[in-house]
């Protein structure tokens, strides 16, 4: 073979090898391009509006009065001594032996650069990777595509909704964040949405508690009769708005939810509290506990969850610290669970970020402990947040802390492209849709 022909054929063979998908030992089919860092991402919107002072700043009560103690109330996520005295909340022992901060990279100073510092807007920015001006809690889908839509559309092959979940603590506008209004994306690429407090709580137990899990044969019976009826009617109903699972996935999810409703009614749900004590649950912890049930059952590749109880800080600073401590426990509990799961362990990266901060100055409300409250009206302090990225030590830089109060090292819009990079589809997304950058400093 002439040298030129050899080189040409060798080159074509090499190109073919690179272009042809291959099967990893896990059984997953990958295109060789756009390789992944890990196969699972959990994005925690540690939301409700958290000031950096009480979180990564570990200043506890010292901003209320210089004579009051400082200290770390997030003993699962952060390294740092607990307050020397504590009159505010009953601290729980950490669930993690090693704080998450040491299991990854902490961007201590992250800028929420533009737009109103409202909860819905903050969530929208965090989940679309674009700053927006939506100031009101309008119950409408966002303009820009969400991380779920990017993930489902640009993964190769396309992913099902079973692999993407948005699990929120509250209702209001939050159910609208599982897909956008974008013509190129939209509901067909949206995530499964769930609000566990409703489904596992009174409403779900009252209205779904009698539903039964049908065996596949029974589902087939129902569908067979339905098909006969449909054959005798000329019209097909328009699809309901929103995401649609495949019939098989829908049955799986229904059976899962019915089992969890029953578990919750009987007090058998595994929950994120010390000793599995159901009486210690907060709304945030219910959400985190249910998110774990979803992850344990379906091992989704992209799960986004939030907390919101901390918004009590508008009128109760003591309760804000209480919920901060509890939510930290929940996040640590979730990370601990992931580490013991046969599929998720060593193949999951968790990203935590508040949707926005809170004001530097107190409002006029004082709680029962004489502590002043904080709103979030868009001052510079309410634009300060942090971002923590934790994961396997061969994927994520361990024990690294970056940034300082006057030196933001990332922006709120950077998490979406970072997740896109971790899950291997960033290069397929039109660059104009993701103005943020990949937080490569955190990744090996």
């Amino acid at each position: 073979m002439k040298r030129r022909n050899f080189i040409k054929k060798a080159g074509l063979a090499a190109a073919g090898t690179i272009g042809v998908p291959y099967i990893l030992p896990t059984g997953r089919l990958f295109a060789a391009t756009g390789s992944r860092v890990v196969n699972h991402v959990v994005y925690v919107l540690f939301a409700g509006g958290i000031r950096n002072q009480e979180s990564v700043g570990q200043q506890f009560l010292m901003n209320q009065n210089a004579s009051l103690p400082e200290g770390n109330v997030m003993n699962n996520m952060l390294t740092g001594a607990a307050p020397s005295s504590n009159a505010i909340h009953d601290p729980w022992a950490p669930v993690l032996n090693t704080p998450m901060m040491e299991q990854g990279t902490l961007f201590k100073e992250v800028l929420y650069k533009n737009g109103p510092t409202g909860h819905y807007n903050g969530h929208t920015v965090a989940m679309t990777g674009n700053y927006t001006e939506t100031g009101l809690n309008l119950n409408i889908n966002p303009d820009f595509p969400t991380i779920f839509e990017y993930y489902r559309k640009h993964s190769d092959p396309n992913e099902s909704a079973m692999n993407a979940w948005w699990i929120s603590e509250g209702l209001g506008p939050y159910p609208s964040l599982n897909y956008s209004q974008s013509n190129s994306y939209g509901a067909q690429y949206g995530a499964n949405y769930l609000r566990p407090q409703s489904i596992l709580g009174n409403a779900g137990q009252s209205q779904l508690g009698n539903a039964v899990s049908y065996q596949p044969d029974d589902v087939n019976r129902i569908n067979r009769i339905k098909n006969i009826l449909d054959n005798n009617f000329a019209q097909a109903g328009e699809q309901l708005p929103g995401i649609q699972n495949t019939p098989e996935n829908r049955e799986q999810i229904k059976n899962f939810l019915l089992q969890k409703i029953e578990d919750a009614a009987n007090g058998n749900l595994e929950v994120a509290t010390p000793g599995n004590n159901q009486n210690l649950l907060t709304g945030d912890l219910i959400n985190i506990s249910a998110a774990w049930q979803v992850m344990d059952e379906f091992t989704p590749e992209l799960t986004v969850i939030n907390t919101t109880n901390l918004d009590v800080c508008h009128d109760n600073f003591s309760a804000y610290l209480y919920y901060l401590h509890r939510a930290d426990y929940g996040i640590g509990w979730l990370w601990n669970k992931i580490q013991s799961h046969p599929v998720l362990a060593n193949d999951t990266i968790m990203v935590c970020m508040p949707e926005h901060g809170r004001n530097l100055d107190r409002n006029n409300i004082v709680d029962a402990n004489g502590l002043g409250a904080y709103d979030h009206t868009g001052d510079d302090n309410s634009r300060r947040v942090f971002t923590m990225i934790v994961g396997p030590d061969d994927k994520v830089v361990q024990g690294q802390a970056l940034g300082s109060p006057n030196n933001p090292v990332a922006e709120s819009i950077d998490v979406v492209p970072t997740i896109a990079h971790i899950l291997g589809f960033k290069d397929s997304v039109p660059s104009n849709l993701m103005p943020g950058r990949v937080l490569e400093e955190a990744l090996i």
Binding site: N178, S198, A203, I225, Q244, R250, I253, L257
Partner: protein, 166 residues
Amino acid sequence: MNRIFQLSIIFLFSMSILFGCKQEKEYQYVFEVNEENLYLSNVEKTKQKTPEQYISILYSNLFSTTVPQQDLSQLAEVRVSIGDKQMADEMILNDFVNSGNASTPTNQEMRASIDQFIEDTYIRFFLRKPSPYEVLELKQEIEGDAELTPEMIYQAFALSNEYKFY
């Protein structure tokens, strides 16, 4: 007032009369519906029910009463708390049918009078009588499958395309 609501009111009024005096054959209430108000054919159904209409009419069809306000509020909460609305509706329907409070004939009653059950069910859900062919089709299914229950058939009717229209 459109036709479906007129029919629902007549239907509910008939329910209250019938349930008060015929406990032993409570699933045969449909004959109290004035036949003049039944659809003559399913081609008359051209408008799709809204999700709210679907749930409230379904509740009325199965429980023979209007939805209590608290239930309506919780049903709305459940529906908004699940992203896949088709799944939410199927779960709500499943709960209705299996609640033990829906007026549903037993399997034994259904099989003792299959033709009657089929006609009752068509009138109950579709507000029309079945054609002879429709009776034949469904009868064959019931007779050919001992494990096909009235609850499953009710769910199939409520999930059908025709039930989504009025």
